[in-house]
Amino acid sequence: MTDGQPPDSPIIRIRELRKIYRVGDVDVEALRGVDLDVQRGEFVSIVGPSGSGKSTMFHILGGLTPATSGTVEIDGVDLAKLSEAGRTALRKTKVGFVFQKYNLLPTLTAGENIAIAKNIAGKPVETEDWFRDVLGLLGIDQRLDHKPRAMSGGEQQRVAIARAIVNHPAILLADEPTGNLDTANSEAVLGVLRNLNERLGQTILMITHNPEAAAYGHRVVHMRDGRIVD
């Protein structure tokens, strides 16, 4: 049980979620009433064409942008009630991001990229035992002293995954995590995500265009024109 929530209650609860962007003088409706529940420990793949609203939902779930209307609860926290500072704190404690472009800090080593996430969360930067195992599982335990430029795309993405989960987030949001990778590295990264889900019970939401990648999840959610279609 977390934050007073019953263990069987969804860790993500989305109701009537709408998002309207203002582009010039035109309102663009990116999300048109999305309802979604994700259970604790679930690995959900979200697929859909460009412009279907999946990235917008991802950004709202991660607290990177506010919703126009509707409710989004993560681990019992209603994002609609959060200020910008509150959403910043949410990213620190409840959400871990994995991006298509890895988004590692280029001047830091892999180890420092992971440590800075702990530092931001106000935690000691020493590597805990459980995380040492995770680094081994990710296959980057021998690469922590390397800068991103000295690592392959697959290695960088695995460092990004390690950074995303180092603070025990309630949910891991992965936006096209294999979009920049070749087939072998894609399979390795997807295997790692599924492994983390199975071994640590990490809740994962993954956006992807690739049906093969989507199949790694427990469930596939399809989006089109700002709505979930099945």
């Binding site: 500072a85 949410l90 988004n103 931001i120």
Partner: protein, 337 residues
């Protein structure tokens, strides 16, 4: 830049002071209406020397004629015998004393800068001069010629630019100065004890020098501020994506701001240290290549001042772009390439 300019301004003054002290005089008499950095035209009659030598406690009086570019690029014409009795003998690095009217002695540093050698004939003021010797610096002027030669060169036969007096005992210097100042025949002549004369060699006593230094420092601060400001602004722009990444990790505005400010503080401290090191380089360049009129010293008392200027300027220059950066939308920052 600031350390070099202050170092040069002080260096030039200290060099002049050292050469003035090297004369060995207890009392200096200057022509009426002259100042420290003015051309001391040879306007005092040479016969004043015998007048001064008749004064109580005065044991020796001699004088010099300046010619050329005044105190900075100085040529001194002296009565060798009396001058050496007052100041001690010249210490020759190469060559020896003047024995003919067309002989010239050069200060060793000046000769090295100009690449003049003993035995060489050099052309100055449309005349050829034979370099008969080089002497250890710190004796009145950079170039020394016989008194009569310079008087003729300056069209000032029988005249002197300044007069030096030696007193029997140091405790009598003030007494002699007071007596000379009280003498109506010397009205209008600036008369200084050696201590008074040396006290004139300071930044505050050179007209407009302090204001000049302040203008230079203000320019230095302004240029430094703009450079740091634009550098930081560009640097923050280039790091927009990094700032977006930090935001996505949950970094607060304060956290990101503190990183940028700490980086700036370290950079400015390193920059200040490098600036201090660079002044040793500029000292070598100025003292060897900038010409005999210039001399630079290391001004350690200005190190903390310039470090403070560098840190304050760079921090102020950082605040605006840093504040702008942390207020940036995380999504916009992440999509920046």
């Amino acid at each position: 830049m600031i350390l070099t300019l202050v170092g040069v301004s002080r260096g030039v003054i200290e060099e002049s002071e050292r050469r003035a002290r090297g004369v060995g005089a207890d009392i200096w008499v200057r022509p009426p209406a002259s100042s420290l950095i003015s051309f001391s035209t040879a306007s005092m009659p040479e016969k004043l020397l015998s007048f001064f030598e008749q004064q109580e406690h005065v044991v020796l009086a001699t004088g010099s004629v300046n010619h050329g570019a005044g105190i900075l690029e100085s040529l001194g014409g002296i009565d060798f015998d009396k001058f050496e009795r007052m100041s001690g003998r010249f210490r020759y690095i190469q060559g020896g004393p003047i024995t003919a009217p067309h002989h010239i002695l050069l200060e060793d540093r000046y000769a090295a800068q100009k690449n003049y050698k003993v035995g060489q004939t050099i052309r100055l003021w449309n005349r050829d001069w034979y370099v008969v010797g080089t002497y250890e610096s710190g004796k009145l002027a950079r170039m020394i010629l016989p008194l009569r030669t310079v008087q003729e060169l300056a069209g000032a036969e029988g005249k002197l630019s300044q007069i030096f007096l030696k007193v029997d005992k140091p405790e009598n210097i003030d007494k002699v100065v007071a007596a000379l100042k009280a003498n109506p025949a010397l009205a209008g002549y600036p008369i200084y004890s050696v201590d008074e004369w040396m006290s004139l060699f300071s930044v505050d006593r050179i007209p407009a020098l302090r204001q000049f230094i302040m203008v230079v420092i203000t320019l230095g601060i302004s240029v430094g501020f703009l450079v740091v400001f634009l550098s930081m602004y560009t640097s923050v722009l280039e790091r927009t994506r990094e700032i977006g990444i930090l935001k996505s990790l949950g970094a607060s505005k304060t956290y990101i701001l503190s990183i940028l400010i700490r980086e700036t503080a370290i950079l400015s401290l390193v920059g200040a240290a490098l600036g201090v090191c660079a002044t040793y380089g500029t000292r070598w360049i100025v003292n060897n290549y900038a010409g005999p009129a210039f001399s630079q010293i290391i001004v350690k008392d200005w190190w903390p001042i310039t470090a403070g200027i560098a840190i304050a300027g760079s921090l102020l220059g950082t605040l605006y772009p840093a504040w702008k950066a942390v207020r940036q939308d995380a999504l916009e920052a992440l999509s920046y390439d």
